[in-house]
Amino acid sequence: MRTADEFPLDPAIVARLEAIDATLAGEPVDPAYAEVAELALLLSAERPQPRPEFAAELDAAVERRFRRAPGVSVPGPRGGGRARSWWANAWMASGGLAAALAAVIAAVIVIGGGGSPSGPPPRVLLPLRGAPLNGAASTAVGASAGASGSPAGRLGAAGGAKAAAPTTTTPGATRSAGTLATPGAARSSATPGAARSSATPGAANAPLAAPATFGPAGVQSVSPPANGRKTIQSAQLALITSPGRIDAVAQEAFGVIGAESGIVRHSTVTATGGSDGYAELQLSVPSGNLAQLMNRLSQLRYAHVGSRTDSSQDVNDQYLVDVRRLADARALRTSLLKRLATATTQAQVDGLRAQIRDAEASIASDEATLASLNKQVNLSQVDVTISAGAVPVGPPSPGPSGFTLGRAAHDAGRVLTVAAGVALIALAALVPTGLVVALVAWIALVLRRRGREQALDSV
């Protein structure tokens, strides 16, 4: 029935069909086709005519543009309208359902973080410690702080700090190692900090335009309140910068350290221009300046924070014990001295002098212990590493308002990236759904068409 093949008609058939058309058009017909013409006229005369009432009713419905008027019955199908309405509603509902399903899937994927467009981009964290120092390929621009012309040496002059000793590892660093997280742990512990920093005003005012999720730039110091108790504080900070800016960032860090009266105990800066560039700084800083120092180091212009670890250890009890022991030793010595003054025999004098020596040794030991503890409390140990890695190019320092064209462009790009990601995820859910819906629609259409044709055959 529904073949689309074209083939030339028999001229005789064409002539008969033309005779029919001429008859219907009221034109004269060749007498040879009189029978066909008569049949055409008879068939045409059998044409059913609509009732005038129906015609008027339909005219009125058309005038109303098929809007249902109250009290007026519009001629319509008996059940056909309902069937079509049900069909249309079902398709509309299924379409809406598919769109909602796609939206839910996209939302779940985005919120769940699987390929989250707002999550941190994959990056390689360089080791905080023990970074490869390629002596052959690298150019050491800074050695130990004691070297002449070294940044730390300049720092000592500029900051007016005490002369830094070119030591490798201090007892303080060893002691604090027990409280500091390992490098791996430091990274993991810095992750919540990254999330936290995105909500802090400090992050918003960070000079870097890097997204808050990329690095905890501008994080505030996280340490329990001292409340007048003696605490030992330490921190580790891993900065990431572009390969060509290792020395510049290190130099800027030295400036900040000097400004905060810090002491660079050990520093190594290896600038290679490649991804193996590395700098490591070991600092002591007055504990009162630790928070400010960490904040300023976290906001260096061309670096962003890869990880940051703040540690604190309460040594108040130990301090009190040491103070009490020292007081006891001093009291003992005073008592011994008094007894020595009243001693009458040489044996008594000798015995008391020996005890006084022991007491003085104990006092000296206790004083040293207390001094060491005070030093640890007053000077916090900070390890700073600067690694080369993927980092967005640092824009110039923001103006007073904190809004720059570069940052706006970056934010706009970020928004577009996230939007494109969400759209891609939604598309990934919608395309298969759409294909299934299209297939079902096509099958339904074919079945419907076949059903109609069968209805024609069955009459």
Partner: protein, 185 residues
């Protein structure tokens, strides 16, 4: 509104078609005026039920009205488009009736007593009876050609076949009818 018979078989002259509802409405109204009775005649012949034909005709025009913006002239003329809608509606009605197993009234019986006497009346009766005995497919062809006044090209569009195929089908149907009339006569 006075709908003319519209038996010219020509495509209606559509008004200039600026985008917008007014133009679409004007085009639909012109189509309605030219095709109302033709659609009814076609549907009535196909269904053999005047009441059902009225419902289906109204439904067809309502569907056409709702879809008037989706009409694409590149896919055919408006009359063919309209009769396609009417055909689908009529076939849906036939399907519904088949499901409900409704007994159809015979409209021809109602008209039997109103005919003239004589030779013409005999011939008409023969044609009518032959038409009654024809299959729905053949009856549809007759209705589209002689009652709705479609051209062969429009007929082909409505049925979804080529024009030459439609001509062949029409010729066979007329031959069948002619032989049936002879057999009756």
């Amino acid at each position: 509104m006075d709908a003319g018979p519209g038996r010219s078989g020509n495509v209606i002259e559509s008004p200039a078609s600026p985008a917008g509802d007014t133009a679409a409405w004007a085009r639909f109204e012109a189509l309605y005026r030219a095709s109302r009775d033709d659609v009814y005649a076609y549907v009535c012949t196909l269904l053999r039920d005047p009441a059902g034909a009225e419902d289906v005709t109204a439904l067809a025009f309502e569907r056409a009205f709702r879809r008037r913006r989706s009409f694409d002239r590149r896919r055919g003329e408006e009359r063919a488009w309209l009769f396609g809608i009417a055909r689908n509606a009529a076939l849906d009605e036939l399907r519904r009736r088949r499901r409900l197993a409704t007994l159809l009234a015979d409209p021809e019986a109602e008209r039997a007593g109103n005919e003239d006497d004589g030779e013409v009346a005999l011939r008409r009766t023969a044609v009518r009876e032959a038409l009654q005995r024809m299959s729905a497919r053949d009856r549809e062809l007759i209705a589209l050609k002689f009652h709705a006044g479609l051209t062969n090209a429009e007929l082909a569009k409505v049925l979804g076949v080529s024009e030459s195929n439609a001509g062949t089908m029409l010729h066979r149907t007329i031959e069948k009818l002619r032989k049936a009339c002879h057999a009756n006569g």
